[in-house]
Symmetry: C2
Subunit: 336 residues, 2 copies
């Protein structure tokens, strides 16, 4: 029997990987938000000197990856694997950044849940004895996502109040089999859940049931209760989705209290920044977790944080073909 398997798709790392380096880069909107001071780099504009938003996104990801590597103190050629993904078709931000980094590459796609999925796989590879250093990264860019999933940027289409605003940014981390500092201790992998939401502007509602499903499975598998965490984060459900999440987990007997927040609500001031229901995008949970929250894990302000990173697994084409929106939520637990 698998020794580190605790429940179905819940695993306990026996030698929990250390997070020895992180890198977070965000755009100007995120730099005006409440968490601005917690990020490594705030860019002055969306372009980063590139001609297209897709090329800009790639640059953000490379920058975050390089910061994480530098901070880890590990030579780049010591890193065995680069696990990365993004929102763009054929995950080109990840693929082209892997060309630049020249580290053996696993491409992953979990929409906005990518950071947690990548970190889970990376931790399994390290704790399984296959590698000592792994780099994980993900990115999103407001303009690149907007024109791929919704409308040409030039039309400047007004968002619905329930829509979320794609975070421009990238987050990266280096996992290590040895070191010091915060460690990734547990993970629960999400099932695809789809309760029939069809509106691609209402992704929070589409993802909340998947987040709740994984959260309740984690609690049951590990015999935990939500109050055992200094912080429970969802990312990125926005204000509507996070209300639904709270109701769903309450119905299952696992109410979350003041120790709960959503990365999409934390990164922007939703009252003043005109971001609809909050932030979204691969970068949203990644930069919140790896920037300000990771800082608090490092200095001991937070001791145990659970992140349910959520993804909506639709494509524009699946919506056009009348499909509902499948959601997924992956949990990682990080302890100081």
């Amino acid at each position: 029997m698998a020794s580190k398997k605790i429940g179905k798709a819940t695993v306990k790392f026996t030698n929990p990987p250390f997070i020895i380096g992180t890198g977070t880069v965000v755009g100007p909107m995120e730099g005006k938000g409440p968490l601005a001071k917690g990020f490594d780099v705030v860019l002055p504009d969306l372009a980063c000197g590139e001609k297209t938003p897709e090329k800009s996104e790639r640059k953000l990801l490379e920058q975050a990856a390089n910061i994480a590597i530098e901070r880890s103190g590990v030579e780049k050629n010591m890193i065995d694997y680069y696990i990365a993904g993004d929102l763009l078709n054929q995950i080109i931000s990840a693929g082209f950044s892997a060309r630049q980094l020249a580290i053996p590459f696993f491409g992953v796609y979990g929409a906005c849940s990518t950071c947690a999925m990548g970190a889970t796989l990376g931790s399994m590879i390290i704790d399984g004895g296959f590698s000592d250093y792994i780099l994980i990264g993900c990115s999103s860019h407001y303009q690149a996502a907007e024109r791929q999933f919704r409308h040409p940027i030039e039309l400047n289409v007004k968002h619905k109040a329930i829509s979320q605003y794609t975070v421009t940014g990238a987050g990266a981390l280096v996992l290590s089999s040895s070191g010091k500092g915060p460690r990734l201790t547990w993970a629960t992998t999400g099932k695809v859940i789809d309760l029939g939401i069809k509106d691609p502007c209402n992704l929070g509602a589409a993802m909340a049931p998947a987040a709740a499903d994984t959260f309740v499975r984690y609690m049951i598998d590990t015999g935990s209760t939500p109050d055992m965490f200094d912080l429970v984060l969802t990312g990125d459900l926005g204000n509507l989705g996070s209300e639904l999440f709270k109701e769903l987990v309450k119905d299952a007997g696992y109410a979350v209290g003041n120790n709960y927040n959503d990365c999409g609500l934390m990164i922007f001031d939703t009252k003043t920044q005109q971001v609809g229901a909050g932030g979204s995008g691969c970068a949203c949970p990644a930069v919140v977790m790896l920037g300000p929250i990771f800082g608090k894990l490092e200095d001991g302000t937070l001791k145990k944080v659970l992140l349910v990173a959520t993804g909506a697994l639709l494509s524009p084409l699946s919506s056009q073909q009348g499909e509902t929106i499948p959601g997924i939520g992956h949990i990682i637990v990080i302890e100081s």
Copy 2:
């Protein structure tokens, strides 16, 4: 130090996972090819009773997954993870099939290298002690790929001679920590290599250097020579790409001989079937490896097979923006 790491991104499984079930489903063109008898299901048409090629592709993948599960003799609810990917934007074939299968899901994207990447990750998770049963799947569909990457199907645009023809099909396998039959013994993960090919109709040439890079790394890391394998397969380089592969590995001192073939050349009769340079697509290496080749591993005709599954990590948008084509090649070794 990581115990199962042999070279950079080359790993040796200490308890090599058993492949306890496979499923292969192909379209009518593949059913007229030389390997037809080696597949589980040959579909009479491309539609499978669905209204769009994307929905058809999803159905193929679900069918292959269900065949693999049934053949494994394992109850579906015993399977901890489903690792899958495909060529479509946001890997919707994989995502929607994961909704149907209701198994915790890791979405991956490696273009046509997806099957080997998924099998590598699955083997690491099992040999790492995190799971006993994992399902891996991938798919591609001629019409769905054609209209996403190239031209509307209705235009019936004539392919160039160097173009490859996307295989319609799906392959799936169940890995297990115990059992009998062929086992996945080694894996080497590919780096993204890009020597500057810009023509998206010439993917074989774009991927050959990546395949050769991983192949040579495997040989060096493990102290092997190509003649130690009953069969060395690339997939899917086509006739131009496989000639380049042979030259590149010869230059590095690792010439392949009569024990070498390419999945894209095996699945079709390239002389009579009007498929340009041969087959391609996620399904191409997957169905060749998991269908006819796996059959020969089971009956002992083949003892040791090395597959370098290759992927071209471009998107239509990256090509439109003037980018060259990054390639990748992932190796898995299967022994009877």
